[in-house]
Symmetry: C2
Subunit: 414 residues, 2 copies
């Protein structure tokens, strides 16, 4: 039983957060966040598949792959520290040292994240000052977590945080203890399924081995963060981290037992909610678009087909225009790659109170245009496809393509 | 020596064309075109790779694969005859019979093409009436070819036709004869490299075997029509046909000799010019975007990298906004797929009078923002990347992403 609770990264025991307005590039808003755990954490991570990886991604990959415990994360918005060569890596080192000094922990236990414009160098003086300010302002309050989730936003219009609580056997062997998992993420443009597609930070007080922490994260990403798309562009900076400090007092999870299943479900729940919120907050978006592919022959084909539909510019523009030009859904399935028989599949548009079948027996069906337009006017537009080829299923999420997407990205730097 | 001449599909001897306003879906404009060759033609074709193929694509594939001669093409704009099942295929048969009657040729020598909305059925009565009207109005004038290229437009803003002339050894063995090749195409949205990405019709009076005709077409497509993208959506109806009636009187081309090389170059020249014009006339486009990748390790990698850049929504929006946020070019290379070393490649922005290097030694370079903005204001924006990994090269073409693209595709059916 997984219960949604309020808050985000500071919901689990022992995690605190802070933020500040360091003046990295934005003015008049916070632009740095720090997460800190009072106890060292096991950590798992997934990173961008882009060949061009930002300096903080390379920094974090080294630490996560080394397998040593971590204790803090420092994130900035405004400048991505990508395509910055050796200077960028040196800057990561200096930032970690500054955090190490301020927090009294090893530099190798400090993870880094950056998001923003590719190319410019981060200003080390402002970064270091921000780190010192935040180190002395850490708080485990719910508000501190919320403010941190706001500080890492770029073109996001809403901050993104979720937390859940569940019960696991106590370490002593008697009864159960509450365990919490919280998360925050940012991401609105340069979002495309191929690794984690954004900055995301998950915290938990669950006692769990590093190996199983990694397993829980890796099996979650393909059906959550990798199933959303805003614009097909996979960023240089995508990072998703999951930190576990073990302070809940549960019997440590060391094998794939019932407790691991519950923990994995909690990870999935928070990741899915963050992912869907990111899709619906896509740059310029006015609609969330969901595509469910079911009865597919393989899971991977179901994923590929679902993603192709939510990634299609023509489908996205049609939803913005509330024009039920549904042949475009079929077209996007057709070029996705997986083989299927267009004569047997069936396509549906789901409204809150009504479902329309718009393709069957190889033909686009006549449907009530007014009803379709009413469904397309809903904030969340849902399509599904019965592949009639097996029993696998996948869901992908995206958003519509709007004038504002073009406006935001035609003039992002100014 | 290949010379550009005026005209299009009617430039080669023996080809005539006609068009009419059949009222298929558009009002107050022509919407059907017919091409006719006075002598039977060898034909080669390439077709969409979309799993969902429109009825006329299936019809044409059967005929082209059978290898028998063809003599006419009937095209309509407004309705795609896609996702129309058995009804759509029967309609193809009826259309071909109508053309067969009107022209006195076998139905199996009539090729068909449709472009427009997916789903609705074509009105057979208006289609048949149009075919009869056009059959009695065929003309080999340059104007007839131009009017045909206009009749097949959908959201295109300019008609697209080119023709060339070259000399090949005469059939008699003495001297040379002029040979011509002309073409027209339409395509503005639902354009993405993966087979021919549009409707395109090429005519030539060259005498050439069917096998070599096919070879010339197949080796041209990967570097021309497959190197353009407007929106990443591969249509259900893409069709490219090349018809040769042999009336030029040249010594028939039956092997890969010097004449074949000249003919292939002519095919390439017309296909490239049509492809680039399609990219620059992408829906809502205000700029043509060209990306040249050179010194790549393999040809295929060069193509993939170049296409990724012109296909990136963020790159396209940046060019619309004339914002030299050039890290996005690097990012799009990074997620394209091919492996490369970000520390060695170099990236350039080419203006008419000036070239800026904006990435080198792993870092985005400082450049003169005013100069960059001036270059991005040019109608044709050119980027290049030196991969420093080999000697292969490829060029891809696309366009910017604009408010008008969203407007056109948010409300395409109305």
């Amino acid at each position: 039983m997984i219960s949604r609770i309020s808050g985000g990264v500071t919901a689990p025991r022992g995690f605190s957060a802070a933020c500040c307005a360091a003046g990295i590039r934005y003015q008049g808003r916070t632009d740095m966040a720090m997460l800190f755990s009072q106890a060292p954490c096991a950590v798992a991570g997934t990173f961008t598949s882009n060949r061009v990886k930002a300096a903080p991604v390379l920094w974090d990959m080294d630490i996560v792959n080394a397998g040593a415990p971590v204790q803090a994360v420092v994130v900035n918005a405004g400048i991505a520290n990508a395509a910055t060569g050796k200077t960028g890596l040196e800057l990561c080192h200096s930032s970690a040292l500054a955090a190490s000094d301020a927090l009294g922990i090893p530099a190798s236990s400090v993870l880094l994240g950056s998001t923003g414009v590719i190319g410019p160098n981060l200003p080390l003086d402002r970064l270091s000052a921000g780190i010192r300010t935040m180190a002395s302002a850490l708080s485990d309050s719910e508000e501190a977590g919320t403010l941190a989730s706001k500080a890492i936003m770029t073109t996001d219009t809403v901050n993104k945080e979720f937390a859940v609580e569940f019960y696991l056997p106590a370490a002593g062997g008697e009864g159960t203890v509450p365990v919490r998992l919280g998360g925050m993420s940012k991401g609105s443009g340069m979002i495309h399924p191929d690794m984690c597609t954004m900055l995301g930070y998950l915290t938990t007080d669950c006692a769990i081995s590093r190996e199983l922490l990694e397993k829980a994260l890796k099996k979650t990403v393909p059906d959550t963060f990798n199933m959303i798309t805003v614009d097909g562009d996979t960023s240089t900076n995508d990072t998703l981290l999951l930190m576990a400090n073990g302070l809940a007092g549960n019997k440590p999870i060391t094998e794939e037992d019932e407790s691991f299943a519950v923990f994995s479900e909690a990870v999935f729940s928070v990741c899915r909610d963050l992912a869907v919120l990111m899709a619906s907050d896509g740059e310029g978006a006015t609609h969330l678009v969901e595509m469910r592919v079911f009865n597919a022959d393989t899971k991977e084909n179901a994923r590929t087909l679902a993603r192709s539909v939510v990634g299609s510019s023509l489908v996205k523009a049609m939803i913005f225009g509330r024009d039920a030009n549904c042949g475009r859904i079929l077209c996007a399935l057709g070029y996705a790659g997986p083989d299927f028989d267009p004569a047997v599949i069936e396509l549906y548009l789901h409204g809150e109170n009504e479902t329309l079948c718009f393709y069957r027996d190889g033909c686009v069906q006549a449907f009530d245009e007014e009803k379709a337009a009413a469904i397309l006017a809903e904030k969340e537009v849902r399509f599904s496809c019965d592949m009639k080829a097996g029993s696998e299923e996948a869901v992908a999420w995206g958003c519509d393509l709007t004038y504002d997407y073009v406006k935001i990205n035609g003039d992002y730097r100014s």
